[in-house]
Amino acid sequence: MNPRLTRRRFIKGVIYSSAAAMSGAGLYLTNAQSQSSAAVGRLISINVNGRTRSVDVLPQETLAHTLRYKLNMTGTKLGCNRGECGACTVLIDDVTTYACSMLTHSVKTRTVTTVEGLRSPDGQLHPVQQAFLEELSPQCGFCTPGQVIATVALLKANPRPTREEARQALAGNLCRCGAYDHYLNGVMRASGQLS
């Protein structure tokens, strides 16, 4: 079990996720400047990819919405907007999280890592990205950012996973093209188990 995933944090996560689902955040809220009159935003700071970003956030706004439409980080994809597909997977304090099911207000004191934040400062691809490229893991690529993020989290927790451990870890990330075998090859390559 991840030591950061305490019982308290898990319960809070469930509450936030439920709130996100029930608050109407399941709708696509795309224009920050023009929300319905009842919505009042609050300026908050969040740490995304090592940078503190100030952003005006609505009470019911999901992290996926903030990332995509306010911070212009479109690598985080919305495939279902209901916690089924995993295309919006990001890391929050190194734990994989569906950004469509997480309220932005709940990550104020935490660190968010998206697919855009994985390159090294000199522009080199992250080893997981490089491995996925070498294995030509993506097909249509829509699920790929989520697969990359899930793999980064896996390898932080388990640097040399078995193929079975890898597929269990990535099981929350759907690939409609069916590129699973190639993603697993990418995981094996990124962990130095495939040359």
């Binding site: 109407g24 709708l27 696509y28 809220l29 795309t30 224009n31 400047q33 023009s34 929300q35 319905s36 009159s37 919505a39 980080m73 479109t74 690598g75 985080t76 994809k77 919305l78 495939g79 279902c80 907007n81 209901r82 089924e84 597909c85 295309a87 697919v115 855009e116 390159r119 691809l125 990205q129 490229l133 070498e134 294995e135 030509l136 893991s137 993506p138 097909q139 249509c140 690529g141 829509f142 790929t144 950012p145 990359v148 193929r163 079975e164 597929r167 269990q168 990535l170 099981a171 759907l174 690939c175 409609r176 093209c177 069916g178 590129a179 699973y180 075998d181 190639h182 993603y183 697993l184």
Partner: protein, 801 residues
């Protein structure tokens, strides 16, 4: 043959953007002043909108306008209109509201008042076919030829005919499509084994992971349209027609698409909404749909209800097949029964065959092409039925398939046409060896509640067309620009096919640049990216364009350096005298001369036989280098087939009804391998689709209210990492097709067909030959069978269960 590029792995240029998140899908594009539209969809399966009261909605701050069916050109009934007052399925778009935010648009939808007259509805084709049954449309339930061409009309079977059909007998009723070849009665008379079976395959939603999105805006009378289609150039003409504009007044932009699987080959109806709204409002308009709406209007595979009679001669050859298919056509009436029957003619090569079919409208989602439509569900059904026949004859199932395998002399389909080439027997032999068929069928099968099943299946789809255009351009700096109208749907075929031009030009790959994704960049007329056709079709177009460029370079060199074109060769990005290689021009110098010469060399003139879109493309790039442009007039005689065979080993738990796929081998027979990793992706991805069809995916409707019961991903349900083998194995026969310059054919559809067939074959094998005659086979069906419960798999119920 030794190639520079063909058969070699490479990294397609868009792949890096996919792993970094930089790849841009339609919804990632924004424009200043962008506004948004949302759809109001039908809450009922059948009805008529009598009145729309949008007064309150249009008074809301931020609401900009409304679009209804009355604002769009009339669509012939029964079509698949973008917006409609006639409602034929739950989720059908009725109107769109545009507003400055999606939230306001959504809020406004809640203030629309609709007056809907409800009609009777039907979700199971047989419930409509039976006398007295409801029709999906007031005029009828099928399309048939009338006085003014094809028209909606009622078709009814007697209760006895429907009852016969439900109980696994020939209904001996009326159909709308029939074909046959050979003497069926005589062929059955030769048979030592004859079996009859009923069958059902479920309809399945496409559920492409990217919810489809359109964004358009108008400038100076031109429409700039961002879409999410499988195809690029194939979209231009139909989209321009949809918007009522000239071909040159449309710029279609589609850099990356999040899956399509047949549902996005050409423009889909709701693309009209952003086009018309953006023109009406004179602002950029984006329309994207939710996951739920993707289920409703994102298209789906047609289901089948059928009956089959098969006869084998004593030597194991299939002598006769008699086939009946009732397709669930959904609200569009689209069925693929004849295509499925055609696949039987290819894989099993019967001497005589009869097909009778009808596609019945139901009040369920629109149906369209989905990865091997007709063929793949037919492969799923026929594999275990043929196994049963082979077993009755005492024949090994692989030996049976080998005995009936098509080859380059075989005849196929209803008209018994020929193929460009076929090597199915070689594929079977390769796969049986890789899989260790002999070893596996002789291993111990039972371990407690677990039982091993071994299966083999085959796939087929026509896989190549001709007559499209190619463009290559050599810049004055010597850089090679490979223009492609092939869409980026995730197969990397846009990149694989242009390597045929690079091969012909004998140039370095790193000196090439692929030009794609935006029709204003000058992209040639191309086929739609569907039906496995791209590899065959567009290696040819790229080849002929490159040949045109080479011919022009030789002409330029001969004019400048003397001699005739026959005295010249190419190599190392130079055109030179074959006898004295030092005398020549670099590609850059040849391109500079071409620009100076103008005319046909620079693209100022172009061939008469190219498509209008290609002509417009050449006009856009004329004068920027040496332009090679040509229509594919190469010989094509017969159907270019995509063929595949797969082997599966499953472990079924008789206590839970679940099974795990322990081993999977898929063999492609698609001519020369162009891009090994891309081919492997196609075979494995198709395999996963096959596993989904075999055991997971299906439509479920509430028969009381006509409501869909499983619209989400986890309900419908595409396979996850945990539903597929831990490792999949693929290979390819790699024998060139003689009618492709590089020997390539396609494989996208058969990759699924062979997989689903191998798994249904393995399921039957695990259960001692028991046939469910249905896909998907779900754990409850297995448990019922094992427990001896009377699971009524002969009721032929579909959609409702």
């Amino acid at each position: 043959m030794t190639y520079m590029h063909i058969g070699k792995d490479f990294t397609p240029p868009d792949a890096e953007g996919k792993v970094t998140g930089a790849a841009r899908y339609s919804e990632d594009f924004r424009r200043d002043g962008l506004v948004f539209a949302r759809l109001l969809t039908s809450p009922v399966p059948s009805g008529m909108v009598r009145n729309i009261d949008a007064t309150e909605a249009l008074r809301m701050d931020g609401v900009l306008g409304i679009l209804t069916a009355d604002d769009l050109p009339e669509t012939p009934r029964p079509g698949n209109p973008a917006l409609s007052n006639e409602l034929t399925y739950v989720g059908q778009p009725i109107l769109a509201i545009a507003a400055i935010s999606e939230q306001i648009a959504e809020d406004a939808l809640g203030r629309i008042r609709l007056d809907i007259e409800r009609r009777a509805f039907v979700v199971d084709p047989l419930d409509s076919l039976v006398e007295g049954g409801p029709n999906a449309y007031p005029e009828g339930n099928v399309m048939r030829r009338g006085e003014s061409g094809m028209e909606l009309a009622p078709l009814k079977w007697s209760r006895a005919a429907v009852e016969n059909f439900r109980n696994g007998r020939d209904p001996q009723a009326e159909f709308t499509t029939e074909w046959s070849f050979g003497d069926l009665d005589a062929a059955f008379a030769e048979c030592s084994v004859v079996i009859e079976e009923p069958f059902v395959s479920a309809g399945t939603p496409h559920h492409s992971l990217e919810p489809r999105t359109c964004m358009s805006y108008w400038e100076n009378g031109r429409c700039y349209f961002h879409g999410s289609l499988q195809s690029q150039s194939a979209a231009n003409a139909p989209l321009a027609r949809m918007l009522g504009i000239e071909l040159d007044d449309l710029c279609f932009i589609n850099e990356t698409t999040g899956g399509g699987f047949g549902s996005r080959i050409g423009p889909y109806p709701f693309m009209a909404i952003s086009g018309y709204l953006s023109r009406n409002l004179n602002r950029p308009v984006q329309v994207r749909i939710t996951r739920e709406e993707e289920f409703f209007i994102g298209s789906a595979r047609s289901g089948m209800q059928g009956w089959m009679k098969v006869g084998l001669k004593p030597d194991g050859k299939v002598a006769a097949v008699d086939l009946v298919i009732v397709n669930d056509g959904g609200s569009t009436g689209s069925g693929s029964g004849s295509s499925g029957a055609g696949a039987v003619t290819v894989i099993y090569q019967p001497n005589a065959m009869r097909f009778r079919g009808v596609s019945v409208f139901t009040n369920t989602t629109p149906r369209g092409a989905q990865r091997g439509p007709g063929q793949n569900e037919m492969h799923a059904i026929t594999a275990p039925i043929m196994d049963k026949a082979a077993n009755q004859l005492g024949m090994d199932r692989v030996a049976f398939r080998r005995a009936n395998a098509p080859d380059s002399n075989s005849r196929i389909e209803a008209n018994q046409t020929n193929m460009t080439s076929a090597f199915m027997r070689e594929a079977i032999d390769m796969g049986a060896q890789m899989f260790d068929w002999e070893g596996k069928i002789n291993q111990p099968r039972r371990n407690g509640s677990k039982v091993i099943g071994i299966g083999v299946g085959q796939g087929y789809h026509a896989a190549g067309n001709n007559g499209f255009d190619g463009i290559v351009r050599i810049g004055t700096d010597g850089r090679i620009y490979l223009h492609t109208g092939v869409g980026n749907l995730g197969t990397y075929s846009y990149a694989g096919t242009v390597r045929a031009a690079a091969e012909a030009l004998q140039c370095r790959w790193e000196n090439c640049e692929i030009v794609r994704g935006n029709s204003d960049l000058g992209l040639p007329h191309s086929s739609g990216q569907g039906g496995s056709n791209t590899m065959f079709t567009h290696t040819r177009t790229n080849w002929v364009a490159a040949m045109d460029a080479i011919a022009k370079m030789k002409e330029i060199a001969a004019a400048e350096l003397g001699g005739t074109v026959d005295d010249y060769s190419i190599g190392e990005e130079r055109v030179f005298k074959t006898a004295t290689p030092a005398e020549g021009l670099t590609y850059a110098e040849a391109a500079q001369r071409a620009v100076a010469l103008g005319g046909r060399y620079s693209g100022a003139e172009y061939p008469d036989d190219i498509n209008e879109l290609t002509a417009l493309a050449v006009q856009k790039i004329a004068g920027t280098g040496l332009v090679g442009v040509a229509k594919d007039n190469l010989e094509k005689n017969g159907t270019a087939p995509g063929l595949a065979v797969a082997f599966a080993e499953i472990e079924m738990d008789l206590d839970t009804g679940k099974y795990e796929i322990l081993d999977y081998v898929g063999i492609a027979e698609c001519g020369t391998i162009v891009h090994p990793k891309g081919l492997s992706q196609g075979m494995n991805g198709g395999g996963v689709w096959g596993f989904g069809m075999a055991g997971h995916e299906r439509h479920v409707y509430d028969p009381q209210n006509g409501l869909p019961a499983n619209i989400g991903l986890y309900q419908s349900k595409p396979p996850t990492f945990l539903d597929v083998p831990l490792q999949m194995r693929t290979a390819a026969v790699n024998i060139p097709d003689p009618q492709s310059p590089v020997g390539a054919r396609g494989i996208g559809e058969p990759a699924q067909g062979c997989a689903v067939a191998a798994v249904t074959s393995a399921i039957a094998d695990a259960l001692g030959g028991h046939l469910f005659n249905r896909v998907p086979v779900t754990p409850d069906m297995v448990i019922d069978y094992v427990a001896g419960n009377a699971y009524n798999n002969k009721s032929l119920k579909t959609n409702t269960f």
